[in-house]
């Protein structure tokens, strides 16, 4: 067997460019997890009693649970006692405006290409920036507040809007749902909160940037997004982390609630550190994302571009409860080197005339493994439910793997469920054709994968589509030569 990298493989081996560490003082909890850790976090955040109790309940439930092992991924056991569950950049005082943010932190976000002020203000994107365990600031708050839109960190929401948080938190992803969501419910430190009132169309993109900075910490953020009747919001999250030899755990929970006639578009550009080319280090990204179309004609659309993490385990799902509600899932997942991804979606058709559409594009290079796992469930009352799934895999080289695991459960015979899958390879002949036209191999690969992923990229908000395209190209640089 020829062990030399094929021409195609050489282009994927580039360095992760977000791998710097910011030197800032932190306020953190010692490693380890017990009731005291949870009390510590809750006290740090000055939480009301009900929140602490909710966390403790989750913790006690988690203790009784088993870590899942059904996904097509392999990793060494995680020692949950070695992780620090709280780490916050020390801010001298509470910041009232973004101008008061620690300059080091500000620089961090600038290096990430995220300017917390002018630049984004011009392009009309409101940003919440979360570093390690806490939100360091949210832009555009006042303007949004005029429309009755609440966009803030979840910690702040617990203080300022406890009735909303209490009503919705855990309503889509119950604390008992799965191992990682139970853990998150016990120890979540921050995240974003968003509420769009009835009939309001959010006039700008809302976005959160998550950054893991401190060593030995886990990041457990919690995002809660509620679109009241007839409202609309488009939300984007971006994620990066420094280069470290150790694996770091990221176990987030995202809950979306779309009421009657409301629409939520949720986009993710995930670029956590993927580990080095030998598979050392990188983020374990174990995330539970779920939305519910609560009322009739509600719509939830997940779009994700997943290029980072050493392991990704995530299935953004939609519960289609309202009649005529719509769920969509558009995904591009790139794995390179030793990365592993097991990702897909669940579409739970409960209401009548519900529709869902799944478009999954997996790109594998190096010795990586990329699995699509999707469930389409049609309940017995979901008359005329429709689903269409398209799962395409693109392979670069012949040492990587692509797998598709579609599960279909149909309990109503008026439902129509369609599934299509293809696997293709970037061919030397495609590369040569581009080369012959003057296009070098790296550019050729970028053109080919962007072509492959186009249907998904088209779903991204304009402001981010270009960034995401570059990201795809960067994460595959060196895989073709």
């Amino acid at each position: 067997m020829n062990n030399e990298l094929s021409a195609i493989e050489k282009t994927v081996l580039t360095d992760y460019k977000y791998g710097f560490v910011t030197e800032i003082e932190v306020d953190e909890a010692p490693p380890g997890l017990n009731e005291d850790t949870i009390r510590f976090i809750s006290a740090k955040k000055n939480e009301p009693e009900w929140m602490l109790e909710w966390r403790l309940k989750a913790y006690n439930h988690w203790l009784k649970m088993q870590e899942p092992n059904w996904a097509n991924i392999k990793y060494d056991p995680i020692n949950y006692q070695d992780i620090k569950y709280y780490s916050a950049p020390k801010q001298k005082k509470k910041v009232n405006s973004l101008d008061e943010i620690d300059p080091e932190l500000r620089k961090t976000f600038e290096k990430l290409g995220i300017s917390l002020d002018e630049q984004k203000r011009l392009s009309g994107v409101a940003i919440d920036a979360v570093i390690d365990s806490v939100s360091i600031g949210t832009t555009f708050k006042e303007q949004l507040a005029e429309l009755g839109i609440i966009f803030c960190s979840i910690s702040e929401a617990i203080q300022e809007h406890p009735e909303l948080v209490k009503k919705y938190i855990g309503s889509v992803v119950p604390i008992t749902d799965n191992y990682f969501s139970a853990l998150n419910s016990a120890v979540f430190s921050d995240g974003s909160f968003c509420y769009i009132p009835k009939g309001v169309r959010c006039p700008m993109e809302l976005s959160t940037y998550f950054r893991i900075n401190a060593e030995g910490t886990g990041q457990f953020e919690r995002t809660l997004l509620i679109a009241d009747e007839g409202s609309y919001v488009s939300y984007l999250e971006g994620c990066t982390a420094p280069i470290r030899d150790e694996n770091q755990l990221h176990a987030a929970v995202v809950e979306l609630i779309a009421h009657e006639n409301a629409e939520i578009k949720y986009s993710t550009v995930q670029n956590w550190y993927p580990g080095d080319k030998d598979g050392k280090g990188g983020i374990y990204n174990f995330v539970t994302k779920r939305g519910i179309c609560q009322g009739a004609h509600a719509k939830i659309s997940w779009t994700q571009v997943e290029t980072g993490s050493s392991i990704t385990w995530k299935y953004p799902s939609v519960i289609l409860k309202g009649d005529y509600s719509v769920g969509e899932f558009y995904s591009v997942a790139v794995t390179n080197n030793h990365q592993q991804a097991d990702t897909g979606t669940k579409m739970m058709h409960l209401g009548k005339n519900t529709r869902s559409r799944i478009v999954s594009k997996g790109i594998s290079a190096g010795v990586s493994n990329n699995s699509y796992r999707g469930l389409v469930h049609v309940g017995k009352n979901a008359a005329n439910a429709r689903n269409f799934s398209q799962c395409d895999s693109l392979l670069l080289g012949d040492k990587c793997g692509a797998h598709t695991f579609p599960y279909i459960e149909v309990k109503n015979n008026t439902a129509v469920v369609e599934h299509e899958a293809t696997t293709s390879k970037i061919g030397e002949d495609q590369i040569f054709y581009c080369n012959q036209r003057g296009i070098d191999t790296e550019t050729a690969v970028a053109l080919i994968i962007n072509g492959f992923a186009k249907e998904v990229m088209n779903q991204l908000p304009m402001e981010f589509a270009v960034e995401a395209q570059k990201l795809l190209a960067i994460s595959l640089e060196g895989s073709v030569g």
């Binding site: 021409a7 293709s424 061919g427 030397e428 002949d429 495609q430 040569f432 054709y433 581009c434 080369n435 012959q436 036209r437 003057g438 296009i439 070098d440 191999t441 550019t443 053109l447 080919i448 962007n450 072509g451 492959f452 992923a453 186009k454 249907e455």
Partner: protein, 252 residues
Amino acid sequence: MLSIHNLHASIDEKRILKGINLEIKPGEVHAIMGPNGSGKSTLASVLAGREDYTVTDGSVTFNGKDLLELSPEERAGEGLFLAFQYPVEIPGLSTTNFIKTAVNEVRKYRGEEALDAVAFLKLMKEKMAMTNIDQTLLSRSLNEGFSGGEKKRNEVFQMAMLQPKLAILDETDSGLDIDAIRIVANGVNKLRSKDNAVLLVTHYQRLLDYIVPDVIHVLYNGQIVKSGPKELALELEERGYDFIKEQFKAEA
């Protein structure tokens, strides 16, 4: 412009080109004919820089440069264009976007500034009219689902867009209807100037009615065994390749 000396090339240890000698001067059109499997496409691929082939002997210079030292994209930058016998499909990549990237990459290689959208569109319109290509084709994914003839037309359109110094057309006439052959020929003839050259690989004398070559070569078993004026094509059409094969055996 192009001089090939004693070129030998093989693939997977199999010898395919066995000592090609060919000299093409600016302004000339050369045609290469020859039976299936004789090495015509191999020659085109080796000139374009396909890595699957190993050059075991010989040399090629192109406008004074050692062609074999250059990467395929550098050769394109130097002005070498190959219209593929079997153009490749790239799903999802718009044909226009592909051609725009190609044009600008070649310009970059030559130290020229990239064409902006307006200038590119202008160039496109001009070449579309010249090659009579359907606009809808250009907004579709590159060659995906194109008919055989549409793929060939797209090759000719790309050639017109890139304005190469040396265009190698590998059976671009195969699979084209009669009107399309005229269009291809027209495109090639318009490209023809005292500074440009064309190497045509074809099986049919019909194309040569429209593009009159300066020389015709017969490639057989990896060598050019016969060269002659355009009348040679007529003779081949009439007599087939048998007489060449006989002659070749007799000499061997």
